[in-house]
Structures are given as C-alpha cells and as structure tokens.
C-alpha cells in the first residue's frame, strides 16, 4: 500500500526505533521472551507499513461488498441493519421450548435457533433404548410433525428466520418445518432460515453422525438441489468450524478444516450434476469467537478472502453471492469457566465484539452459567443484552470493518490465510476432507492442539482469570435450569398415542416408497415430505435409511 521510496524512509526510522528500544529493554525486559497468538503465530513488538507492504488494497482488501470481501459482504454492513441476534435454545418438550422462543422474541431477539435433543439429532425416537436419560436434555425432543407444530405454535414462520442445528437427519427435520409452515399457510418461497446439515464436522468433532460418508453426502446434495428449486431463501448448510474449535483446534485449524469441508461439499454437489452458481449462494458458515481478540477478527476476515478466492479460482463461480462467505458466530463455550462464572460475561463480551468487528451476519452469545447446565432465563437475558449494548451503545457498528488497515490485523489476516491454505493443500493431497477425516488426520490434529492447550493452562502459560490465577473461594451457583425426567415419559406416551391415532396404512406406504427411493438415485426430499406429512416418526424414517445405507463406525484416534 506504500511506494518503495516511502517504505525506505519507514525502514530507516524503524531501525532507529529498534536501537532506542533496545536500551529500554536492557533496563526493563518485557513480560515474556516471545509473544504469540493462541494459534502459535509469532506476535512482534509493533507492526508498521513494512509488515503489510505486500498487501495490495484493491486486490487483497477491496471495499465492503466487493471481491474478495475481506472487509465484509455488504457495502453498508451494520449501518444498514445490525447482525441477527440469534440465541441457540431448546430443551424438554416442544411446548416448553415454544415458551422460551416467545420469551426470546419479546426480549428483542431477531431470529430463532433450535437446539434438538441428542436422540433427535441421531435419529432415534424418544422411546428408543439408546434415548434413555437423554430425552429433552440438550434440546427439544422432536419425534413427529406433531412436535414440530407445537414447537412453532403461534410463531409466524413467514416473519422469523429459523436456524436448526441438525445434521445427519437434517433433510427430515427440514421436511417437518416445511409441512408446519404449510399448515400455517406459509409457502416454501417465504421460508427463511438455515439447517446445519454439515456431516463432515460431525465425524471429525461433534459426534452426531448416523450414516456413512457417501450416503450422507447424497442427502446433503439432495437438499441443495431441492432447495435451489423450491426454498430459494433457505441456507442449505452451515459449514461449521465452531465445533472443530470447541473440540480443541486452533483458529488456523478451525478455518482450514472448515473451508476444506466446504470444498468437499461443493465438489460433491458438482459431481451430483448441480451448477455451482445454483447452489453456492445458499452455502453459509459458522465460526467460533474465542479468546485471542485480534486473531479472531483476522480469522473472520481471512475466511472471507480465502473462500472468495476458492470459489472464483477453483470452482469458477460467477455469481457474487457464490463468492461471499456469510457466517454465524457463537462465542466459545469451551472458554467459559465454572470458577467465578460472572467473569464469563466479560469473556463473552470480548468474544462477541470480535465477531462484530469481524463482520458476522448473526451472533449467539453464551450465557455465564453454561459451565454448569443449560442457561437459566436470567443468564440468557444478560447474554442478549451484551449484544444489544455492543450494537446500540458502543458505536462499533457505525462503520464497516473499522479495523481494516490496522497493520497488525492486516498482517494477521494474511498470516492466517496462508497457514490455512497450507493445511488445505495438505488435505487436498490426502484426497480431500472426507478422506482426511476417514484416516483420522483431522481428529488427531485437533486432539493434539487440545492437549497442548490443556498443558499450557496447567503450566500457567495460558492464564484464565479465576481458574489458574486470581482464584477465590467458590460458592456453587443456584437457580440452574433442570430438565425434568417427566419429559421423557410424556414424550413416550404422546408417541404411543399418535401411533394409535394416525393412518398407519399411509405411513407404511410412505416408508415403502422412501426405501425404494433410497435404494435408487431419486432426490429423497419428496419421499421425506410424504412420510412426515402422515406422521411417520423420525426414528421410523431413519431406521429405513439405516437399513439401506448402513451406519457409520468411528475411527479410533486415541
């Protein structure tokens, strides 16, 4: 960004400054021998134009809303509209969760984000033996369309956008959502929202897989194809680094593994015969906002630039929307401490701020009590207020990419991009993300970083306030949210009743049709629609697919 004459001048004064600084250092050494980011990128004493001399403004940064989107995906960013404030929520029964959603909307939240319980995420009905103890615990239990109808009762689906954290059975839950909207009189074209639908990171980091990779990828590309035709405003996938980071990766690994997964989905869709500009505009991403403030901001900026280049250069995408990396952010759950939990409010504030300065499209702020249980209503309120204070009071949303041009942030952005690209090249050589995961490579990389971080915390090299420094006597927190075990009983009873009441002949026919389609190559969305409409259960549908596709067995990497 500077001409060589000016750079020479800067270099000269930089040398002089270094000499002067040496004298200061002789008297007063720095806190540490060397400094680095959480990803291990060296951090220098100061950054100056020399650190970013290779960066060309138009080519590498550009303006907000223009290629390579380093500075943001919209030209006006938050001057037009704030990010969507979207808290992940759901527990117990559909009725209970429906109440929480209405509460959150009343609090000024602008989008919904549904948490499903583990049996739902893994395609078991609430009465399955593997579901014992898990029903309604980490999210809402959905067995049939009836539960979905109750979940959104009184919430107009043409007015809110809904994000659903569902992966292996994403297509089935999407079918239920579409049918629920239909009963409200809302057509497909009006639906706005996201399904996570990112199976690769389930194998690598999150664990709620069902089927092996090949049929799982087919389910995903079936969704791409169906939605591009019928639900054009739906985000068909949320390619997630969040869980990779929570599992212990560094920021660089989070970015690299997420984009490598993204490449795998694009390749699968192209192989299925889809055209890149038909499905790529609906791909979305999901990242973590962790402790290292500037590294996180740089990560978000690097993510946009790298993805834009990949889509343009590698896949020849033409539509600007195909090139834009739009993302949701959640603050880092793994950084919340059970010790002095009120400190978590401060951590969340900083992490949320990094997401906003990084140009996120939507944001979930964690609640301070999540190291103990699901969040209580009071804790959720503070988390929502944190976003509102950043949006309405701090002024940071008044200009696009306020840190653009910071020598440090630009240097880090380039550094992270380069390091992530090195990982992506390596994964390409292994045969792509699915192959790298099947070989356990990604899992091992994540595990090693997780253990290294733990050791750094225990050695006191990584300070966590209240945990390994400035500790206090602790009083166990009160008013934690508990999920009553009665949820399981009522869910099981409801299921039994429904099975007696529904048209079981229609269910059997729908299941038979589904099985036939699964064995062939038809798009599976229509048979899913038909099955959920006659109240076939999620478990019945997934069991049918298990019969045809088989189940995934994880590789051991420990």
């Amino acid at each position: 960004m500077y001409d060589s004459k000016k750079l020479k001048k800067i270099e000269k004064s930089s040398v002089a400054w270094a000499e002067k600084t040496q004298k200061v250092l002789d008297k007063r050494p720095e806190r540490k021998q060397s400094f680095q980011t959480l990803s291990g990128i060296p951090v220098e004493r100061v950054y100056d134009p020399l650190s970013v001399h290779e960066c060309e403004y138009v080519k590498d940064l550009g303006f907000p809303g223009s290629y390579p989107y380093t500075r943001g995906v919209q030209p006006t960013m938050y001057r037009g509209r704030f990010w969507t404030m979207r808290q992940y929520a759901g527990f117990a029964s559909a009725e209970e969760s429906n109440k929480r959603y209405k509460y959150l909307l009343e609090q000024g939240q602008t989008g919904l984000s549904v948490a499903f319980d583990l049996p739902t995420q893994i395609g078991y009905d609430s009465d399955h033996p593997m579901a014992r103890g898990e029903v309604g615990k980490v999210g809402v239990a959905i067995d049939t369309l009836g539960d979905m109808e109750a979940l959104f009762d009184g919430i107009p689906l043409d007015k809110v956008s809904t994000s659903m954290t569902i992966n292996a059975p994403a297509a089935i839950l999407l079918a239920m959502y579409v049918q629920t909207a239909d009963k409200q009189g809302v057509g497909c074209k009006k639906l706005k929202g996201t399904i996570q639908n990112d199976i690769l990171k389930e194998y690598a980091a999150r664990g709620t897989y069902i089927f092996p990779p090949a049929p799982s990828m087919r389910l995903i590309t079936d969704i791409f194809a169906f939605c591009s035709q019928y639900i054009p405003s739906w985000n068909t996938i949320s390619i997630s680094g969040y869980h990779i980071r929570e599992a212990g990766s560094t920021a660089v690994q989070e970015l690299a593994f997420t984009l490598a997964n993204g490449i795998a989905y694009v390749e699968a869709a192209l192989q299925a015969g889809l055209k890149v500009d038909d499905f790529a505009p609906r791909l979305s991403f999901f990242f973590n906002a962790h402790l290292d403030f500037f590294e996180e901001i740089a990560k978000f900026r690097a993510a946009r630039r790298l993805w834009a280049k990949i889509m343009k250069e590698r896949f020849g995408a033409k539509s600007p929307k195909s090139l834009m990396l739009r993302f949701h952010t959640q603050t880092a759950g793994c950084t919340l401490t059970a010790q002095q939990p009120q400190n978590n409010v401060i951590r969340v504030t900083l992490q949320a701020l990094s997401a906003v300065l990084g140009g996120t499209q939507s944001l979930h702020t964690n609640s301070m009590d999540e190291a103990f249980s699901l969040p209580s209503e009071d804790a959720v309120q503070i988390a929502v207020r944190t976003q509102q204070v950043i949006a309405y009071e701090s002024g940071v949303a008044n200009t696009a990419d306020p840190l653009g041009g910071s020598f440090y942030v630009e240097h880090l952005t380039s550094e992270i991009e380069e390091r992530a690209q090195t990982y992506i090249d390596q994964i390409d050589e292994m045969g792509g993300a699915a192959a790298a995961i099947e070989q356990g490579y990604v899992q091992k990389e994540i595990q090693e970083s997780a253990y290294a971080y733990q050791k750094a915390v225990e050695a006191g090299e990584q300070i966590l306030v209240g945990l390994n420094k400035f500790q206090d006597e602790e009083v166990p927190p009160r008013n934690l949210l508990r999920v009553d075990t009665a949820v399981m009983e009522s869910q099981v009873a409801g299921l039994k009743q429904l099975k007696a009441k529904r048209d079981n002949v229609a269910v059997a026919t729908a299941i038979k049709k589904l099985k036939k389609s699964a064995r062939g190559n038809d798009n599976l969305m229509p048979p899913f629609m038909e099955a959920v409409k006659c109240y076939a259960t999620l478990g019945e549908i997934c069991d049918t697919l298990r019969d045809v596709f088989g189940e995934y067995t994880a590789v051991s990497t420990v």
Binding site: L118, T208, G248, A338, E458, T485
Partner: protein, 144 residues
C-alpha cells in the same frame, strides 16, 4: 533367558500398571475432555482404553470386566449422567465387580454430586479440573 527375566521383572519387581477404561456413555459427542484425560493418564504411566462414543452402560461394564481395569472414568456433558452413571453402578454390582473404582466428569451440577456418590461414584471432576488432580486421585485410590 532374556524372556524369563522380563517375566520375572513383571511378576515381582515392576509394579503393575494401573489400567483405566475411559468411557463415553449415552449419545453425547463431546469428547475433548475425555481424550485430553486419556493422554494425561498415559503420560502418567497408566494403560488407558478408550471406548469411543455412544456406549451403553452394558457395553461399558462388559468392557471393564473384559479388560480387567482398576478404574472406569466416565464423561457426560449432556445431562444424562443422572440416568447413565447410576445404571453403570447397578450393572457393576450385578456383575460382582464393585472393586472397580468409578469416577465421572463433565457438566454435572453440584447438587447432583451427592446422589452420584451415594451410588458409589468415588469422585466427580468438573470443568477446570487440572489433569494432575485426576492422576493423583487415581494413584492414591488404587494403591489403597
């Protein structure tokens, strides 16, 4: 000769390594913690067998007996500990394997710990526990 001396060593001089089954009962997929603990216990000289995800209590108890472990360490972050932990203890009792020391960890509210201890879980380690605390606890409890 050489083989004999190794066997001799194993029999009388070198103390037997502590064997630990690290287990993930239920459907919870959060395995960062348990994998970190596997590494730490191994670095502390223990033999660790990790079950992987989605184990039923029956599978865990069977594996523990088959592998002749001294300790079972279970991790649950989904809130299902209130069913899964006591169920494992019940099955261990039924199998006459109550000499196995069972410990747990994860997202477990303070108020649940007493009832877990009442069914025989020896210790519950919450978030932020240094791995060295767990190593020390296992070593002290096994040698007792």
């Amino acid at each position: 000769m050489y083989l004999e001396s190794i066997l001799l060593c194993r029999r009388c001089k070198v103390p037997k390594k502590i064997r630990v089954l690290a287990a993930k009962p239920g459907l919870d997929g959060h395995d960062r913690g348990i994998k970190v603990i596997c590494c730490a216990l191994r670095d502390a000289g223990m033999e660790v067998i990790y079950t992987g995800l989605r184990q039923t209590p029956e599978q865990i108890v069977q594996a523990a007996i088959q592998e002749d472990v001294d300790v079972i360490g279970m991790s649950v972050l989904s809130g299902a500990h209130d069913y899964l932990f006591p169920r494992v203890m019940e099955l261990l009792k039924g199998a006459g394997a109550t000499d196995i020391i069972v410990i747990g960890g994860g997202i477990i509210p303070e108020e649940d710990i007493k009832s877990l201890r009442d069914v025989g879980i020896r210790a519950v380690f919450g978030p932020g526990t240094p791995t060295t605390d767990i190593v020390r606890f296992i070593k002290e409890t096994v040698s007792r």
